[in-house]
Symmetry: C2
Subunit: 497 residues, 2 copies
């Protein structure tokens, strides 16, 4: 029994097998699990609570920037897809297609598709909603007075993936997708950049994940977009992970769906579009960026549970006193209402087991109190991020906890930022890059003005892709690391998830 319990807490170390370590955390911290449906995950309560917190914060940020929510159909007729060539070629190869609307029991009592219930036109389960939404905007947009439309949707999305990994790449995932319509290209550009800024603020301030913000190259942009903006961060195995994108779609979709508006000057014009999204992938990014060999680490601002109390006692007589001390403290915490707290009063489990269990689950702070602490009116706080033990008088608990939660939040950001800094290199020749990316993974900043074909060759030869053209450029001239031509454009290359 004891071994079985200990086993449930042991996870693979990062240096043993990074990929296995990631999967162990997902499973053992009960964030998600594979379902019996190929490539689809079950988001367990512990994982979903993080998503709920993300939704709460982001939804407020969207509303503060004047967006409203709506809901569009899950199913998209195949004919809508064909209306935009780039879009269809980007998504057609990985979508779930509904072809029938009924099942039928055969004579053997086996159930299967009813051949008499075939749909006239197959329906695609939405891989993204530009087409269905712009088909509706055709009715919504008549005059310049109807603009801008600033809309967001929280939804499930389906992209048929061959190789899946919980949170990072699954057939079904959850996301939000903003879809806006504007009278001018300038407004659309401002919107696309504004929402990238919202994402950067959210990811950096709430998830403690430092990002590079930039523009995607032609090869890497969204199918149908004029520009795709992205925020990218670095995992602990020094690969890139895209954590949010915002697209300036220009008139691609208004033209495809023949949406025009009557401008103030009496002319008919095509409106300009943006779309932007973040997904449940962010939960995976929290593991990839912050977590360690003991398990998950959740930044305090996004953690469903911030402080876990573990009573320390040996005998039954001690137990009662310690628990009663904790109950008084719990009451104080509840009255203050400034952070979430739970008391682990589970029976028949040692304090050591509980420590490991909550460390695995990533709770930012642990509060321990035993009889000896009580005699001195003390309490022990243990930080999940550093393991540091802090002994303090019990009456300072609230203020010290609030301070520590902030310190943990900051420390996680700084640590990740420092890690990213250490593994971000500038590189000037392609030969050097080819060796370096293999032996020393990381972000490589290079002068680059190669063609889409050049980029494709780089990808084939190095498995690295251009991650972004950072918005902040030094502005200096240099020699393209691939073509040798003179350019002022620097681009980040990395291997990516």
């Amino acid at each position: 029994m004891a071994n079985e319990k200990a086993d449930a807490l042991r996870i693979t170390r990062r240096d043993e097998d990074y990929s296995r370590w990631y999967l162990d955390i997902v499973e053992r911290a009960k964030l998600a699990e594979d379902s019996n449906v190929r490539g689809c995950m079950i988001i367990r309560p512990e994982g979903y609570a993080i998503w709920e917190n993300m939704q709460l914060i982001l939804d407020k940020m969207f509303k503060d920037t004047d967006h409203v929510n709506a809901y569009f159909p899950l199913f998209i007729p195949v004919s809508f897809f064909s209306k935009e060539a780039q879009h269809v070629s980007g998504f057609a190869k990985e979508c779930a297609v509904v072809t029938h609307h009924r099942l039928k029991l055969d004579e053997d009592g086996q159930i299967g598709v009813d051949p008499d219930a075939e749909l006239g036109e197959p329906l695609v389960v939405r891989p993204t909603s530009e087409t269905i939404i712009w088909s509706a905007y055709r009715n919504w947009i008549q005059s310049y007075r109807d603009l801008p439309i600033l809309l967001n949707q929280w939804a499930n999305i389906c992209r048929w993936e061959m190789r899946t990994k919980p949170f990072l790449r699954t057939t079904e995932f959850l996301w939000q997708e903003g879809h806006t319509a504007h009278a001018t290209p300038e407004e659309a550009e401002v919107e696309a950049k504004q929402m990238l800024g919202v994402y950067k603020t959210f990811v950096e301030q709430y998830l403690s994940i430092p990002v590079f913000a930039g523009r995607k190259t032609e090869n890497e942009k969204f199918p149908g977009a004029e520009h795709t903006y992205t925020i990218e961060t670095m995992t602990q195995d020094r690969r890139a992970i895209q954590v949010g994108t915002s697209h300036n779609l220009g008139t691609t979709f208004s033209k495809a769906f023949d949406v025009t508006y009557l401008a103030a000057d009496g002319t008919r014009q095509y409106p300009f579009a943006t779309s932007w999204g973040i997904t449940t992938r962010l939960i995976g990014s929290l593991i990839m960026v912050h977590s360690d060999d003991k398990g998950f680490i959740c930044p305090p601002k996004i953690a469903p549970l911030q402080v876990i109390g573990v009573p320390i006692y040996r005998k039954e007589a001690e137990k009662e006193k310690v628990i009663s001390c904790f109950q008084q403290i719990q009451k104080r915490f509840k009255e203050l209402g400034a952070f979430s707290f739970k008391l682990d009063d589970r029976e028949n489990l040692s304090p050591g087991f509980k420590f490991n269990d909550w460390e695995l689950k990533g709770i930012p702070l642990r509060l321990e109190i035993g009889l000896r602490d009580m005699e001195k009116n003390n309490a022990v706080l243990v930080r999940r991020d550093t393991g540091e033990k802090i002994i303090i008088p019990q009456d300072e608990l609230e203020s010290r906890i609030l301070e520590l939660l902030n310190e943990i939040q900051d420390n996680l950001f700084k640590k990740a930022q420092e890690f990213q800094r250490q593994h971000t290199y500038t590189i000037s020749t392609y030969e050097e890059f080819k060796n370096s990316i293999e032996n020393k993974p990381g972000f490589y900043i290079a002068y680059f003005d190669g063609s889409p074909d050049d980029e494709e060759k780089i990808k084939e030869e190095t498995k690295a892709t251009s991650r972004c053209i950072p918005l902040e450029q030094e502005g200096t001239m240099g020699k393209c690391f691939y073509t040798g031509k003179s350019t002022n454009q620097q681009v980040i290359f990395a291997r990516a998830y």
Copy 2:
């Protein structure tokens, strides 16, 4: 232009065409619209904001009763369905089936299903999640210590409907579905009834919709349930509408998915299940129960916007003064933060047009101020439910608005309750019932202990179904209105949506 505007506000009267009236409100109040996808609706921002408020309140009620949220796959393998016979026969005839995972461009550039990408096993788009969730519970439930599981999911659902009506019956809709597992049948029964109670409280207190709470007969219960509990209300055309259900599923799904737990006494036992749900149908019910010939009426506690301000002025000089008065008031309201308020400062629209527009949209209270009111330091409040005009000193605005919002909330409930009372009849013979249901629609309470076949015949002959066996029974004996046998069970019959 003026006519065009007036047209946009005119809706069919209830006595002209009740069904058209309903659809007019859905469309003109911009709550939802038909999409280009058969039977699927677009929930527009005005409608979705109501759903968001419902989610916020219900989610808190669920968490206050110790439930947590999670997320399970959209797709359910057909083989899962076959595991429970009643369940599959209940849902197989109306489900969207995914058979392929790729589209393909043919030589003519036409896009269609890629025949090489057929799935080994077809997937059903979830019409409800008992099967996929209980398949997961098999791994989650090992010992009595793992019970109860108290879980809820917010999700989209697909049931292929032939005749659809926005909100009331659509191919795709939004809902929440609770799925719990318990060690004893008693616990499951308590849970099923508790959640029916949560729904009743929510619907009556927040939506001002009075309901009958009861149990469904065998014919009407959920496929696979032991008992189905329901809350039912009456529409203004005196039909029944089911607004929430809660099922005691017994061991139907634990047996179908072979889920057992090790009990404290060392034996292996099947856990007991419940499931319960409410849907976006509730938005349609708000129309059906409260709204009138001027448009939508939204109860204040669920209304995204509670008070609309309409400035009254004729000349430009007046306008500035009135708007500035409103801005000061808006500032006061914002500081108080006790209700939502918006100022309608749209140009080139008459006050009369604005009155009609906001009445159509169902905003509970209108605040009007013109120069003459300002001179006396007065303001005019107009109730959406009664049309009553109330002139009050401006410094009493906040307190009076809060009072009125409560009064409107109560009045809507009482009005609907009185209507329901007036059209609820007791009936003692089937002959009488057949005539009466045709000429005098309503709820008919009858002693009934007929068989499922009897009920089926009643349905065929009268288009009425048993709505519920009310939880509150008089307990007196009477003669079954159909069989003539003696029984103490009273049942409500009605035609239903």
